[in-house]
Symmetry: C2
Subunit: 437 residues, 2 copies
């Protein structure tokens, strides 16, 4: 038989079982919270029509789209969960109730160049709230509340939601009579990656005025308490309509985030946050773990004016956020921030020492009917190898059944960590397990 | 803006939110049991190397494989979860402990022609136990035990596991001096779809002997109690080695299935079951819901001699079973056998009647911190429309807060089913909810 080298394609993520359990644990925390906060599950196809995914030119992302080599040339792998959502909401508009709250946690595909921590197939975990014709701004304040619960369940407490508002920035730029404000915003998006000098000269080139460049620098660099930033924004007394509306929205989101239980310490009004230029139109969020800002925003999103404009003649505004789960896992793992303690699902394993398996399986059935996660080992190997199996799998307790145990209708119960072992009846075993598990 | 018709490709499955909840419930039952019985999660990439997926010629299935239109021509979508498993086990051989028990519940892709209940993208839910060099036959008996738990959790109690053994059939054919027994097996695989007469004449053509055809017909048509079939097989006194071994295995699997708690009523030794000809080498299973045999086997599998022969020079025998989850959902739904009662995740929704949202959100926070699944509605619409939203979403309880409630620091708690409503304090609300939820 010809042997093919067993390997996966470069740029794909695959985990060993114990790491997969850690990954699944993060995923489970996210899903549990999404459900708890009242979001409906969706599971759209991984393969969509090309014309649907290309309905909105999405810049870089669509260039990274994987096409299926089919005769119809109309099958592509989705590159995010947002375009499928916009198609779904338009397609099922009459069957949905609005505001429509949905979550989806699933893989998306992008032909990115190979790069550390970037994958060609990766999980996104998204929530969105879609309104019909309008959507109250307070919804924007609830989204970070969901994320806070998730991150707390992951044992992260040092979290910072950076919030801003696109109308506010746009209005500010317009008040300065800056016409090419798209380009300026794109520059601002990179401000944290540039030196002060480089940013200034780049900006100056764009706005061609020291005064304007100074104003912009001052605006995006405000590193003050949230209330002070609001005072500063009020003090600007800009009467541009967009600015005024954006400021009003930002204040509301900030106020209601706190009412939802996202305390002030978790919030940072950050006027340099812009997010995906073609997309967001109001609130924008990024989320950082304090002390680990270098891994970037672990969860970003915002408000968009119209989700499904490419698919339906309806105004469907929405707000949402997305966790790049595969990337988050990778970063946290690299930083040693993951709890790897629980690396198996099983509490007990049963070994027979040469006795027939009827009795050991009865004990197994008893354990399972008492809701204990137990398994049995059938292979005919030396005892040492059996114990080694339990050890390697991280199974904390072992049950040993030999002639002695069988004769006395008992079992030997061994704690793998302490090495302690006792002989007990099955009733005593269950009582003991009720205490320790 | 040009409007693109929002639609999915033909042959793909997509559900409305309330149906998705029902689907996810089935999936959750499967995953919970797979974990409980001690299987490790795996999540292999959806896109694999073409040479890997083609390492073993798999007949029809590989013809249905989707290729990615990439320059390297080496990316394809997986068509099952078994080939990726065989690649994974070979690739990570030195990092795994054997017997290696793994589950995977995920989508696979096949370019099948459009057909009712057949999808181009569908979920498989697989468990397998892989041994290193050998794997005890009792493992074959535990697999149906896992499936029984799953189906009972889905409220199906009328289940029938049809079991057989490939060595037994092969040995039987060899004892009749039938050389083209592969073809005969392929014919047997279709016996349930043919009339008796057609099957007989087809068989006769293959074996060219009335006597042999009669023997085969007698063999595959035995519709007796399990013990009687074993008596019949013993009475044949065939001394072909393969037959003897197959019979021994079948008896063991039957015996230990019962010890594992799969009672005799759930088991049917069925000598006409053959399953995937190139693949299985010992035990084979199919699973039927009694009275609904027409939907076919909902869960099939068996024993294979060597999982990863294409990838590693090691003998890795295994046994596994696969639930075609998307197909199962579709069939059960068509037959009205699904429990659609719980079609939302939320127990309570809060409506403000024109009062500011501080107090309503405080009530929401209180409910959530007491672990109640609650949401709040912010849109400024008529009360009737709000109640209609709760109704459509199937939310059983509504909390109404107006001037009166705000002034008295109370809430109105309404049961949507009975229409009954009471005014109570938040403490009284929690006490009441503790009773009813």
């Amino acid at each position: 038989m010809t042997i093919v080298k067993p390997s996966i394609l470069p740029g794909f993520l695959e985990l060993l079982p114990r790491d997969q359990i850690v990954f699944d644990n993060l995923k489970e925390i996210i899903e549990r919270n999404f459900k708890f906060y009242g979001f409906f599950p969706l599971d759209t196809p991984m393969i969509e029509k090309k014309e649907v995914l290309l309905a909105k030119e999405n810049g870089e992302t669509t260039k990274q789209m994987y096409e299926i080599d089919s005769s119809s040339k109309d099958m592509v792998l989705r590159f995010d969960l947002t375009v499928p959502l916009s198609r779904y909401v338009a397609e099922h508009y009459h069957e949905l109730e609005f505001p429509f709250r949905r979550y989806q946690i699933s893989k998306v595909f992008r032909g990115e160049r190979n790069q550390k921590g970037r994958f060609k197939e990766f999980y996104q975990a998204d929530i969105d709230i879609i309104g019909d014709n309008s959507l109250d701004i307070k919804n924007d304040a609830e989204i970070p509340r969901v994320i806070l619960s998730i991150l707390k369940d992951m044992n992260f407490d040092q979290i910072s939601f950076h919030i801003n508002n696109r109308k506010l920035i746009n209005g500010f730029m317009k008040s300065l009579d800056i016409e090419n404000y798209d380009e300026v915003l794109r520059a601002i998006d990179k401000v944290k990656k540039m030196t002060k000098e480089n940013f200034y000269s780049y900006l100056l080139e764009l706005v061609k005025s020291n005064e304007k460049a100074d104003s912009i620098i001052e605006f995006v660099s405000k590193d003050l308490e949230n209330e002070e930033i609001i005072d500063y924004l009020n003090s600007l007394e800009i009467d541009n309509e967009e600015f005024v509306q954006g400021l009003e929205e930002l204040k509301e989101v900030y106020k209601y985030m706190k009412i939802f239980g996202v305390d002030n310490e978790y919030i940072r009004i950050d006027l340099s946050i812009t997010r995906g230029l073609d997309y967001y139109t109001g609130t924008v969020y990024e989320t950082f773990i304090k002390g680990f800002e270098s891994i970037g925003s672990i969860c970003s999103g915002g408000r968009y004016e119209n989700l499904s404009g490419n698919f339906i003649e309806r105004n469907l505004p929405g707000v949402g956020i997305s966790i790049g789960l595969s990337r988050l896992y990778y970063s946290l793992n690299e930083l040693g921030l993951l709890n790897n303690e629980k690396n198996n699902n099983i509490d007990l394993i049963i070994f027979s020492m040469g006795v027939s398996y009827e009795y050991p399986i009865k004990i197994l059935n008893l354990l399972r009917s008492n809701n204990y996660k137990a398994q049995i080992y059938f292979e005919d190997v030396k005892f040492k190898k059996k114990l080694n199996y339990a050890n390697k799998l991280g199974i904390p307790y072992v049950i040993i059944i030999g002639d002695e145990e069988l004769k006395e209708n008992k079992v030997t119960f061994k704690n793998m960590q302490t090495g302690e072992q006792i002989l007990c009846s099955s009733e005593e075993l269950i009582t003991k397990l009720n205490d320790i598990l």
